[in-house]
């Protein structure tokens, strides 16, 4: 059965802060209601925690990293992988192997919130 990633565009806030507890509870309720169809998903820290990766000169070229999300409006987020990595350097090394990174696109590597639940 195919799976789908639902990328959520909402206000750029830190969902770990207590003032968003009600909203995260709503997501929790949605998660329970949709439990039968959900296969995976993640809540992300806000955009200032992001790193963008690009490979210049085609496959195997120079890996270039920049601070922040790749674009605010022009390019939409088209999907995501969950990569398990020890740290940002390892995650960037994997991200640089994703075809979009060396084929004109950008992979945004962002840490996933661990709510500890």
């Amino acid at each position: 059965m195919p799976q789908y990633a639902a990328m959520i565009y909402a206000q750029d806030v830190d969902w770990t802060l207590p003032e968003y507890a009600e909203t995260t509870a709503e997501y929790g309720a949605f998660g329970e209601a949709a439990a039968a169809v959900l296969r995976g998903g993640a809540a992300l820290y806000p955009t200032p925690t992001a790193t963008s990766v690009r490979v210049q000169g085609g496959k195997g070229g120079d890996v270039v990293t920049t601070d922040g999300p790749y674009a605010e409006t022009k390019e939409a987020l088209t999907g995501f992988y969950l990569i398990e990595a020890a740290d940002l350097d390892e995650a960037v090394a994997w991200a640089a192997k994703i075809p979009a990174a060396w084929d004109g696109g950008t992979i945004e590597v962002r840490p996933v919130i661990d709510f500890g639940g």
Binding site: Y45, P48, T49, A50, T51, T65, T66, D67, G68, A86, D87, L88, D89, V92, V109, R110, P111, I113, G116
Partner: protein, 412 residues
């Protein structure tokens, strides 16, 4: 109540230097730069008061580390949302040796340097973070030095620390195969910092001018951590050689003084000697592949060692620019080379070179150099037109005043 002694500059310096070592170690212990910074900041405030009153303890680093660890434990215990990792850190801190070895501190400082200059942080964040954590300036000072509001700087630093923490920017020295690229990020950051101070000379804010000295101090620290590294030898040499001339760059009215007219007796001879020695070592240690900082420092050394402008070794300078173009072929490098060619071969040859450079039409110094060559070729009307083009572009106040006085002289 007794008034604490005013903490003197040497005491502040001692607390900053030892505080940096303690921060580097504590960050490794805690796995959290922000928490370590807060704890070290608390300990530093305590040290300035206590040491100012009672004198400096026999082992200031151990004193600071003990104080910072106990502040960190207090903070973790106060924090209700503390993570398991931090609770672990408390248990670990209680088992840590009271004083880490010099080699452990050395490795921790390198880790701190490479974390602050991690390529996933923007250049401006790297500069701000380096000033805060490696130079030990407080947030208000960093904000003033980099010309942004304290609120903006505070937010920038907080975001950087959060990113380091939650995105897990690793606290380690990069492996050998990544070291050249990662070291380049470090040298670029230090040189940006130096240029912030160098260009601030006209502004007169002492704190901004002192950035050049902070950058040199940081460069020396890096060189002590990675002795013999050619790019660091070149970087420190370049900064010393440029800084040696800084007192002569502006006249009493704050107007720019060109190299040809600078009072060379005002140059810092000790800094020049040190810079020249470092250039020599940098050249010996990069026999196969020229390093751009070493080569730029070699050019600066040619200028610094010339007894007069006329007696400058222009053929040597042109040759060094050829080497530099082999490392990085940039339009500005070509422009500087052309200016040296003008002194070696005359203005006609140089003008051909200047006019062949693409991509500098928005750069005032390209127009100004062209104007200077046209004036020497006895074409004052063309020279004035070129100066007008330079003046129409954005530049610093001192630069603009200089261009305007040149135009007035040509029209007289």
């Amino acid at each position: 109540m007794t008034e604490p002694l005013d903490p003197g500059a040497s005491l502040v310096r001692l607390v900053r230097d030892e505080g940096r070592a303690v921060l580097a170690t504590l960050t490794r212990n805690l796995g959290n730069l922000g928490l370590a910074e807060d704890a070290v900041q608390d300990a530093a405030v305590q040290a300035l008061t206590t040491w100012g009153r009672d004198g400096v303890p026999p082992n200031p680093r151990a004193w600071l580390l003990t104080a910072a660890r106990s502040r960190a434990v207090d903070r973790i215990r106060r924090e209700s949302r503390r993570t398991e990792k931090e609770a672990e850190a408390v248990r670990m801190l209680e088992r840590e040796p009271p004083v880490p070895s010099d080699s452990a501190v050395h490795d921790d400082l390198l880790r701190l340097v490479f974390t602050c200059c991690h390529p996933s942080l923007s250049a401006e964040t790297q500069v701000a973070l380096s000033l805060r954590t490696l130079c030990g300036l407080d947030t208000a000072e960093v904000a003033r030095a980099l010309l942004v509001s304290e609120a903006t700087m505070s937010k920038r630093l907080t975001r950087a620390r959060q990113k380091i923490l939650v995105a897990k920017i690793p606290y380690r020295v990069p492996p050998d195969h990544e070291l050249p690229d990662r070291l380049e990020a470090v040298t670029t950051t230090v040189y940006l910092l130096f240029n912030e101070g160098y260009t601030a000379t006209a502004g007169g804010d002492h704190l901004r001018v002192a950035l050049a000295e902070e950058a040199i101090r940081l460069g020396r620290l890096l060189l002590a951590l990675m002795p013999g590294e050619p790019s660091l030898l070149g970087l420190v040499a370049l900064m010393l050689l440029q800084h040696a001339r800084s007192a002569s760059r502006l006249d009493d009215d704050g107007d720019l003084v060109l190299l040809a007219h600078q009072d060379r007796s005002g140059w810092d001879r000790a800094a020049i000697s040190e810079g020249v020695v470092l250039v020599g070592e940098g050249l010996r240690r990069s026999p196969d592949r020229a390093d751009r900082y070493v080569v730029q420092a070699a050019i600066a050394a040619c200028h610094a060692l010339a007894p007069t402008y006329a007696a400058t070794d222009w053929p040597a300078i042109v040759s060094w620019y050829d080497v530099l173009l082999g490392v990085e072929d940039r339009p500005v490098t070509r422009l500087n080379r052309a200016a040296a060619v003008a002194e070696r071969d005359g203005p006609a040859d140089a003008l051909v070179l200047v006019e062949a450079i693409d991509g500098l039409s928005r750069y005032p110094l390209w127009h100004a150099t062209r104007a200077e060559l046209l004036a020497r070729l006895d074409r004052p009307a063309d020279a004035v037109a070129a100066l007008d083009a330079a003046i129409a572009l954005p530049s610093t106040d001192a630069q603009r005043r200089h261009l305007e006085s040149r135009r007035a002289a040509l029209q007289a």
